[in-house]
């Protein structure tokens, strides 16, 4: 044997002996996870962030040898933000790709269609989109888990914070689809309960952010504050129009959620002093060790810090992996039972848990406010974290209110 051949063979052999888990993971059939998400459409930027989080989780798990000696393979599919497409892509993932589990969906109406397919195929599904219905009867199932926040939690939180710190008289502008409508209903009820007033609500079609006909009417009502439920790519046009009509000077603006990438796109001049909630922002790395590790890993892998939804994708994949490890099985029922029995987890920002009755995840959330252009830190430091709301099941509807006995 030549010297070069000897060295090559020996090195390969030692490597394989040193990493038996990696070897096993490479030779066994991978565990497949289907991941439909809207890579095109109004939520494309958020979907790209979600995808990166899931990808990072997959790569981290595989680098450690996979799960039960098997690699994870996450198959992403563009659902185009259309329920029928989401349903068809999920069918393809289940039937053609033989996925073991499904994670994903990024709009309330699309995740419902995905959920119908996973229920029929008896596959565990971790939804990562905000919705009140997904964890309530009759839509939920023992195999349906909900990782994201929901409109009830988000809008109750913002109403409480808003009444204490922003104003008493409100006007709601909301995208006229499931998530927007649910936020409007919850926010109206919460403000009334807290003794405030919602002077009016303005629905608009999602993805068609034209507000010029509505803004004079809102200004005439003289609200203290606007609750802007203008998600995705609608966010920037709404704020720009509010500025050009002078509304931003007349009333303070809060929104259920803030997104880093849209804030960067619009710039601090547009977003300055806008309040919002979030389940994660990269500024948390300054105070939370778990967040610091996650933000560093994400930034190293993708050369930019994570936005909030990447955390949902990251957790979704990690929870599937944890469930499989616990159950020692890829059977969906076994994994679902294992997650319910071992309901606490902490992958990137602190303790979370699955509520037993509805498989709903409970997690901390934060109130954030956008800095002025002069205060923005570096390229991405837009948010001031101004409050924390600890995970609390009382923020959501009760199990009985959601139809669970």
């Amino acid at each position: 044997m030549h010297r070069r051949q000897f060295l090559t063979t020996t090195t390969a052999g030692v490597t394989l002996l040193a990493f038996p888990a990696v070897l096993r993971a490479q030779t066994k059939e991978p565990i497949r996870i289907g991941f439909p998400l809207p890579l095109t459409g109004t939520f494309a930027a958020i979907a790209a962030d979600l995808q990166k989080g899931a990808q990072l989780a997959m790569e981290e798990i595989n680098a450690k040898g996979g799960v039960m000696g098997r690699k994870l393979e996450v198959l992403f599919r563009d659902d185009e933000l259309k329920p029928a497409v989401g349903a068809q892509r999920t069918k393809e993932l289940i039937e053609n790709q033989k996925v073991d589990f499904v994670v994903g969906g990024l709009a309330a109406h699309v995740q419902m269609a995905i959920n119908e397919q996973t229920k029929a195929a008896k596959k565990l599904y971790i939804s990562v989109s905000q919705s009140d219905e997904i964890s309530a009867k009759p839509d939920t199932s023992p195999l349906t888990f909900h990782e994201a926040l929901n409109p009830t939690i988000t809008s109750r939180t913002m109403a409480t914070y808003g009444m204490q710190n922003i104003g008493k008289k409100w006007w709601v502008v909301y995208a006229d689809y499931a998530w927007g409508k649910q936020n409007n209903v919850v926010f109206n009820a919460a403000i009334a309960k807290l003794g405030g007033t919602v002077l009016g609500s303005t629905p608009y079609p999602l993805g068609k952010p034209e507000f010029s006909a509505h803004l004079p009417k809102i200004q005439a009502a003289k609200p203290d504050a606007i609750y802007a439920v203008t998600p995705g790519a609608d966010n920037v046009p709404f704020l720009k129009q509010a500025i050009s009509f002078g509304l931003k000077k007349e009333a303070r603006i809060a929104q259920p959620l803030h997104f880093l990438y849209y804030t960067k796109e619009g710039g601090a001049e547009v977003f300055q002093d806008i309040y919002g909630a979030t389940h994660f922002c990269h500024e948390l790395a300054e105070t939370l060790p778990q967040a610091k590790r996650y933000v560093e890993a994400f930034t190293k892998r993708f050369t930019q810090p994570p936005d909030s939804y990447s955390g949902y994708g990251y957790n979704g994949i990690h929870e599937v992996a944890r469930g499989v490890e616990l159950a020692k099985s890829t059977d969906s029922d076994a994994v679902a039972n294992a997650l319910r029995k071992n309901r606490e987890y902490d992958h990137y920002k602190g303790k979370q848990w699955w509520r037993a009755c509805d498989n709903k995840s409970f997690q901390d959330l934060w109130i954030i406010k956008v800095r002025s252009p002069q205060q923005v830190k570096g390229e991405w430091g837009f948010f001031d974290v101004i409050g924390k709301v600890a995970a609390n099941e009382e923020l959501d509807r009760t199990c009985a209110e959601k139809g669970h006995a």
């Binding site: 329920p83 029928a84 068809q88 393809e92 039937e95 109406h109 119908e116 397919q117 499931a178």
Partner: protein, 321 residues
Amino acid sequence: MIRSAFGRVKAWVTVHPIASFVLFFAIFPFIAPYQALATQVLIFGLFALGFNLLYGYTGLLSFGHAAYYGLGAYGAGLALAKLKVTSLWIALGIGLGAAVVGGALVGFFCLRRRGIYFAMLTLAFAQMLYFIAFHAADLTGGDDGLRGIPLLPLSIFGASVSLRQPLAFYYFAYVLVVLAVAVLKRILDSPFGAVLRAIRENSDRAVACGYDINRVKLLSFVFSALFAGLAGALDALRLTVVPVDSLYWSTSGQVVIMTLLGGAGTFFGPFVGAATYLVLADRLSIFFEAWPLVIGVIFMAFVLFLPRGIWGTLTSRGIGQ
């Protein structure tokens, strides 16, 4: 050699169109990438077939065919999810009934105008239905779509057959689509079918020949809605959810593209168009997000250079009519 083989296929398909359809779609789930896609092709082919009756054979361009597809879907879906009917046949009947009634009403008003005004009226009615479904969330599920549709077992001759397996559902849809295709063939071969084509070619001459063309057009409209409604009802059962997009203009646009791509006015064109569109969309979307660009270029190429569509071009150049 190849040309003569094409010639023999052409001759056989020309003489036996229904048998050709039956044979090809009997094996289709085994050559399609997966069975749910095969079923989708079958259902959208049926939808395009209905549209083709109105556009390809009668010469009436509807931009609102999603209305009848959606009415069929919501009819069957509501029957199962809200009325809790216990028979799949009754649910399908309610879906078909909703599409036929909707088609008759919309057709009655729209057929009072011609050309672009007719097309715009069909679009307006479809969009009205969309917004009604969107806002009647308590009944239709609104933007979340109608959920909770049980896929009941099929009761036939006293036996109960589960449709949960994709292949079982495919053959259930296959039987109904074959029946629909046979009915369409009978319609087209009848004197009524000849009058439809006469209206398409020259409606003034058809009037001069003594035909009540408004009545014939309305019947064509209702038959077209019937086929679209059956497609919608089957899709509601396939997905066990009815997205509100079923009624949206983009669904109407999709069926226009499928029909033109396959070949308007040809018997198999709608199925060829549906298969081309859906298989391309399914396969390309796995690799890149800009797949509509590819289909758009193909569509434009056919419209500009081969306006008879895929099947129309093949029939004029070699393979069966």
